[in-house]
Amino acid sequence: MKPNTEHQIFSSYNKKDGFFDEVFNSNGDAKSIYKKLFDLYGYHSVAEYVQLNNKAKASFFNQGITFQVYGEKEAKEKIFPFDLFPRIIDADEWNTIEAGSIQRSRALNLFLWDVYHDKKIIKDKIVPLELLSSSSNYLHQMIGVDPPKGIYNHVSGIDIIKHADGNYYVLEDNIRCPSGVSYVICNRTALKRALFGVFNHYQAHTVTNYAENLMEILESVKPQGVDIPTCVVITPGMYNSAYYEHSYLAKAMGVELVEGRDLFVENDFVYMKTINGPKKVDVIYRRIDDLFIDPLEFNPDSTLGLPGLFSAYRKGNVCLANAPGTGVADDKAIYTYMPEIIKYYLDEEPILSNVKTYHCSRQDELKYVLENVDKLVVKPVDEAGGYGISIGNKLTKNEIEEVKKRILKDPRKYVAQPILSLSVHPTYIEDNNSFEQRHIDLRTFTLLGKDKEFVLKGGLTRVALQEGNLIVNSSQGGGSKDTWVLKK
């Protein structure tokens, strides 16, 4: 079915039934919240729109917001695909998302404290011990360690989708080093440069206040006895795919962007090497994975980290954000216990729903999964970035058998969920010179500090650019959109 429009740039927009279209009603009219925007966009001819789109792309390119693709000859730089048609979330819906994100972050923080201290939730048999004892992300070095001000997941990225029923569901929690926040800000900048006029008709919340809030959070978890803390951002280096984000955050917070080799540890204090000699570092926003932060304590082959860092952390002389060992709680197997975890620690009902999940480690559920592989999404519990996911209705008969074999080989490694139909949104497809339906999700960024919580009013809307594709991760060729949270 076509939307009711004569606009040229919607010529190949084909509205499929069964998906939740965020912009068009079932009768093909633009929903009231999108009405104005739809008219403003539709007004452009294809040629004009192509020009705007190219300008926006050039804006990313010139700002150096790129990632490297290593080809046969030389490394090529590419920009992350960006779509100019923004996604709008109204104030009421946003309030639910925001409250739900904070609730999850707080519950995860309490869960982390518990599993690294008394393990009450295990002893009360709410969460099986198996989930800790079989997780390589459960760091024994963190047992009994009190992170400054009791905060583990200072930064959480929560991935949320809108299902066909119009409700939001959490897909996963990312509380190791969630990335993407710089794209939220770049997307806004690019959209403002290309189509400033559209902002006159909507009152969207700003997204540029993320860095100042992150800075407040980091300062709030300063070590005992430090008056004005020195904070830094640590990066694996300029060849890391998220280097732009690391440098953006350091610049926006006005702190140094360091690499492991810029730091040293002496008598359990951390210092950075400046042109005026050593300077003590108090809070480290780290964008290096757990196992690489200290070669003397974790992966001995790591050249990214800092020998002795963990001892300094353990002693409380430096704060790491996020704390080491948070990975145990964003395991996909822990995810399925989130409703119980929220109830256990906060005595509240979850504000955001979980997707029903089947554990292949449980006999009865394993049986169901094996019988219904074609109707399920099967995921390994410990892979990030969309790797190893199989989507049942896309598989051939042989592939289904393959998946079953893989599950049976190590059932504990897999969980399965019903195939969700992610909502769809008009996305400009260059090859067809028209907007088309594409699936989207939303990553929210939640900050947790001492007596402070913050959710960025916007978040990253990710788009699966291939038609019908449900995997939106940028490492799998996904794009993104500016996301407007409207003021009340």
Binding site: K119, I122, K123, K125, L129, L132, S133, H140, Q141, I143, G144, F264, V265, E266, N267, D268, P295, L296, E297, P300, P307, G308, F310, S311, R314, K315
Partner: protein, 284 residues
């Protein structure tokens, strides 16, 4: 009665080419506990790099060294003086009922509290085919089972230096039936954990005056959790309970949690390491 021990630990590292930067972390200082008192210690290196005393991720005292110049060779020399109480290793009261023992170890609170030492690591995981190598007799007290396991490991493996190293898999040790104290300790840990007994791998020094097995390097044994008693030391390399000849440094899930030396060294080419440990005793 007490015994005074003097331990010396020397190691020499040589590199084919200049080392531009190096960090070492030594976990070799005997701990203070109810049976041993560290009186004094001393640690020197040939480059006069400073000692940084710190605590590692598992709570044990370590010394970190970070030389500030280029070098090709460095020697370290440590010496420790400690007083050890002469103890009767059997001085404890066991449960009367066998069932109490098993009720304890099957309680979720107990399991959760001892999770790290029940975990099967890469070096303490029995392959499926070896799971029935040694089975606990559930009609006997856990302590008695552990004692039998001690003898079993002692008899199953043949002590031989140089045939295994710290990366040798447990499967290979079981198949070839030989190894050094680390391998004895790993096998003990694997079987005890398979039977749901928390057990710690222990790194320390052994006074060999009594003709015990060990070598001129550090020794390894285990501590298993005996219900109603607590952690009890077993030395499967010598088929004895741990007593005053065992000077404990640290413990972990396996060797890799508490190796005597960890290093990050930036240099190209080959390197060689020599090291020697001496333990001397005198009665007080």
């Amino acid at each position: 009665m007490s015994l005074e021990y003097t331990v010396t630990y020397c190691t020499e590292n040589s590199y084919e080419n200049d080392v531009s930067e190096a960090f070492w972390q030594f976990c070799i200082i005997p701990e203070n506990n109810t049976t041993q008192d560290l009186i004094s210690w001393d640690f020197d290196n040939s480059l006069k790099a400073l000692n940084e005393v710190s605590i590692n991720g598992f709570g044990f005292q370590v010394v970190r060294i970070h030389p500030k110049q280029l070098f090709k060779k460095i020697t370290f020399k440590a010496s420790f003086k400690l007083v050890k109480k002469e103890i009767n290793p059997y001085d404890f009261i066991l449960n009367h009922e066998v069932s109490e023992d098993y009720a304890t170890i099957n309680n979720i609170v107990f399991i959760a509290d001892h999770e790290p030492f029940l975990r099967k690591t890469r070096f303490t995981k029995l392959a499926e085919k070896y799971k029935s190598l040694f089975l606990f007799d559930s009609t006997k007290l856990i302590f008695d089972n552990l004692l039998e396991l001690n003898s079993w490991v002692f008899e199953h493996l043949y002590f031989k230096v140089g045939v295994t190293d710290v990366h040798t898999s447990l499967d290979e040790v079981i198949e070839k039936r030989h190894g050094v104290c680390q391998d004895f300790a790993h096998l003990y840990c694997a079987i005890a954990r398979e039977n749901n007994i928390p057990v710690r791998y222990v790194s320390g020094y052994l006074h060999q005056g009594n003709g015990y097995f060990g070598d001129s390097q550090m020794h390894a044994w285990v501590e298993a959790f005996v219900p109603n008693v607590g952690w009890v030391g077993f030395d499967p390399t010598n088929n004895i309970l741990v007593e005053h000849n065992h000077l404990k440094v640290a413990h972990g899930k396996d060797y890799h949690d508490c190796p005597p030396i960890k290093g990050v060294v930036y240099s190209k080419g080959r390197n060689t390491t020599k090291y020697v440990v001496e333990v001397q005793a005198s009665q007080q």
